[in-house]
Symmetry: D2
Subunit: 341 residues, 4 copies
């Protein structure tokens, strides 16, 4: 049984484990003030091309989202998210637990645009309603789509005019920036959004997300918020060592490119076999619509999620690839699919 | 410069890193449903001698405290803690951030007893005050002292009669249960407290605390609370692999015994040198009271915290040992102390 | 300018003010333990026909909703509400501010049924999502519709089977129970729902809502929650005196009957004039769809809210009547409408 | 049985009820946008001598404290209060329920000074602890003492230098400003503190506290916070009418002067009788230390709280006077005391 269930099925890239071993017995200060974390942050600033951003290393996506949003918002302020947004659907009310409403916008492609946000602003006009304040994007989105530079520019401009915070969940940012459809680089992001994070967990690390705070007014006292939410690790070095290893050369993007290439391979062959897709994903998650009989056959040797029933005979499945996905297994999956057509 | 600043200065015990490497490329389910976490939990239940407890693996102490207490308490209920309690002093209001007051009791030795708690209950008599509901203990305490079995029995009995939850923060439980003054075992704890945790971070793991919920009424839906607080790791295997390695033989306690032995060595020699201690610690944190001149000398080659000014000529310092503390360094420290008497 | 904007445009029914005057200088205990509050609660229990319910007097709807829901729910549990629900739309995130998500269900008539709720339960299957736990109804709904007995029975049965709490916001319960379409009485409600409130503010009182907690497991320590949320008035007598006066005879329902009759009059004449309505309201809020030109004419002498644009020439307006609405003004409004046809 | 238990035993001053009657049937907008509230706010600004403050009318002290503090503080920021502070002792964790720790300072006289606050700042040095941000004072304090102008100046200067918010709970501000020991006026307060409130409930109103926000940075969006916390009354006129009546001439202070005069009378006679007091109160709450036998005698015809046991034969009692306290009853109490010496 080979799994295409998600991009966190394996441990870490071997180079990361190696870096942990090499650094293991060096004595360091705790809580992210170790030399590895400091070096990792310097390295990230170089890659981003900005020294005026604040960078913090946290353990996972939900933790990063809830720590950032609760730090950025006052009690009456709300976030706006696409209906597919992770904070809306799969974080057990983590944002609401910090006191903030999330306003959902129904979308098909997982992406927000200024007209979506305008409709929310138009509907929230006085103190009897929450005050929409932060726009939550995911890139890649939860359904594999990605944002283009001009789309982010439009969002940025709209947010600036309307005094909104633009926040990007980058749990799968590696895959997004490595997609064949992408026209963004890491260094574009501080110009486009107020805060974003660079996901490690789903791109080769054991755990770890690097939150980049670009807007000055959001930076103050952020470590207090981390500590309060349980996000400051005693052995912060664990995060520092990993990000340092991922970014001291091109490892982070090499891993994402591999993941995307495996997904491209699947997508191309599934397309050739005549099947359609639920979403226009160009990243490491794809959602082919397959006959139920074929799905049953594939499930004999592969594990993956049934995403959505389409009709009585078809369903969309989710296939996720990662830095660890083996090309042989992808080819075997394709062969098995073709055998069962 | 050698550090006695804390017990999380190094990475993990080499066997733990090795276990991570060996398991690294095995595909597993996410969010703590991997086979390593399941096996680690089974192993812990064996060591505790109870199959009817629920065990959850979380990343750090503050996270465990805030997730557990907010899950266990209703909005109007408060925790009671010694004035030295970690949740009161060094967690940036993490418990209050989930809505709960902590009632502080001034103590000298870091420990609570029934009369302390009775005084709180006597003072909280109606709905104009919070309802005291949970008693928070640390073992070892934040100042190195430990609880004896009969002390916990008295607390347990008092809590049962008064319908209070008894919770033990075990960030340093390894050191406590390995102390020369200890008369408790892991299997005593479910009989004595309603929930406790077994600290990994400060006893050889990279990260990880194993929360043991003993009282049935506290168990329901705990994974929802973990997810909501950002405590459910996508790669939960990271915690499972470590706890499995720590408990598949006696490694966990061997590491604590080493840490304590290093502290014992320091304590004995400092005592011989004629110095007193701020607290009666029998664990891996000791607080000798030294002349400032000696402290200055020692600071040339050793790092440690100045804990408290005693008078114009003396201060208490904190020396912390761990699984990684080298005996040679301890001996060198002692020699340097003796040279400067 | 006469206002049909809402049912809280005037002060209190004169009998209520009189009762305040008569009781004014009697010395009483504070915080709802005065004899007036105790008598009012006894009276309400008689009217409801149940001695085993707990009744608490609070000041307003938002306060009652947030105090009750935060007392009833554990941190990971969510409320379910129709998309028109007051807690979703017009309470500035009050429920989320206590930590709980509200799951919205899109409806046309303001009302929930079991199939709505089932769809929510089907979509919330594990600990990565909130746990739906409480069903929030309003009666009357925010768009004037009401629940029938058999509809509530179906909801009650569904909630019992699925271990859900059924909560009714009764800010306009007087109008609901006095509607020509109603088949419920106060004494039916404890059999049908787990908690509900009897709105005073919008039916003749200065302020005041009487929360009735029917399910035993929701009763414990409720006054702690009230105090914590700022809902326990030092001069709780202010609420007690009013509810006593409203319920010592049939005043509460007499006032609601008047409000409804005024709305019926408007509805009948607007229907005769050939206009349709946005919702099938049989209570004190009606939403006729009128030509913009007519709206402009009516606005010269009457104030009311434009509720929703229908097309380029028409809009729905909201007309609200109350215990204080003067029949002469209703007739004058109708005459003015007819003059402008 | 005559009650000296508190200053909210009766309803409202008759002029207030009269004002409610006179305004009763005038149609007004809801939620504090009625003409009475607007006029009351204008009047208060005149009395305070400042047009640049924001004033909001809320229902009670706990509600005002929790709404203001949660609006003013970010999640990691804490309040500092004297150990006697109402928010610490008698609000059921209302502030903690909004997420904020309150740091307690042990005091004898209910009052804070800069050295108290400095000790807190000195002990809170990094992100592992909450950030002290707001200083909570009560005037009068909970034990009847008052602040002098120079004391507030010192606090103000200290808070400015240390970037702290200075907040005054004025639930009994009328009594404070009318005390024989007072040297402050309403117009001094905006120069001295960042926000304060003028208590109505305990000085002649049915309910109502007028919060005055002086510091510009604390003003934004305050009505959103009020609505979210259930503090925006549909019939906000209820508060507006009362404050307008209290401040359209000197009624507010006349009532406080009466309350204080009644307390002065008690204090003088009790002093003459040879008894000491627990606190140096010059306001409407006094705490004489009496023999238990005398207390028992007095309890036959008078109700009051036993405040604190002093020794086996003595206790301190609390006597509270108000706008409604009858001089005849005070004289009768004194006579009864003297009869029992």
């Amino acid at each position: 049984m080979y799994s295409f269930k998600n991009d966190y099925s394996e441990g870490a890239h071997p180079r990361i484990l190696n870096a942990l071993i090499e650094s293991n017995l060096v004595q360091e200060d705790g809580y992210g003030e170790d030399s590895y974390s400091l070096k990792a942050i310097e390295l990230l600033k170089q890659k981003i091309g900005r020294t005026d951003v604040d960078i913090h290393l946290l353990t996972g996506g939900t933790q990063t989202n809830l720590t950032a949003l609760s730090a950025f918002l006052r009690p009456h302020e709300a976030a706006i998210a696409a209906s597919t947004g992770h904070i809306l659907t799969h974080e057990t009310g983590a944002i609401e637990a910090t006191g903030h409403k999330i306003i959902s916008i129904e979308v098909d492609d997982g992406k927000l645009n200024p007209s979506h946000i305008k409709s929310v602003l138009d509907a929230h006009t006085d103190e009897h309603m929450v005050k929409p304040k932060l726009v939550y994007l995911s890139n890649t989105t939860e359904i594999g789509t990605i944002y283009k530079q001009n789309e982010l520019e439009q969002l940025r401009d709209f947010c600036q005019v309307n005094n909104l915070i633009l926040f990007m969940d980058g749990a799968r940012l590696g895959s997004a920036l490595s997609s064949t459809g992408n026209d963004l680089t890491l260094s574009d992001l501080p110009i486009l959004v107020d805060a974003f994070y660079i996901g490690g967990t789903k791109n080769g690390a054991l755990i770890g997300e690097a939150l980049v705070i670009c807007r000055d007014s959001l930076k103050e006292d952020f470590r207090f918020h981390m500590k309060q939410k349980g996000a400051l690790l005693a052995k912060g070095r664990l995060l520092g060592v990993q990000f340092h290893e991922l970014f001291r050369d091109n490892l982070y993007f090499d891993l994402a490119i591999h993941a995307n290439r495996m997904a491209d391979l699947l997508r191309d062959e599934i397309t050739k076999a005549g099947f359609a897709f639920l979403t226009q994903s160009l990243s490491n998650q794809i959602f082919p619509i397959l006959p139920n009989s074929l799905i049953t056959e594939l499930q004999r040797n592969y594990s993956f999620y049934i995403w959505e029933k389409i009709d009585s005979d078809h369903a969309a499945i989710r296939l996720v690839t990662s830095w660890a996905t083996k090309e042989d297994e992808v080819l075997a999956f394709i062969a098995e699919m073709n055998r069962n057509l």
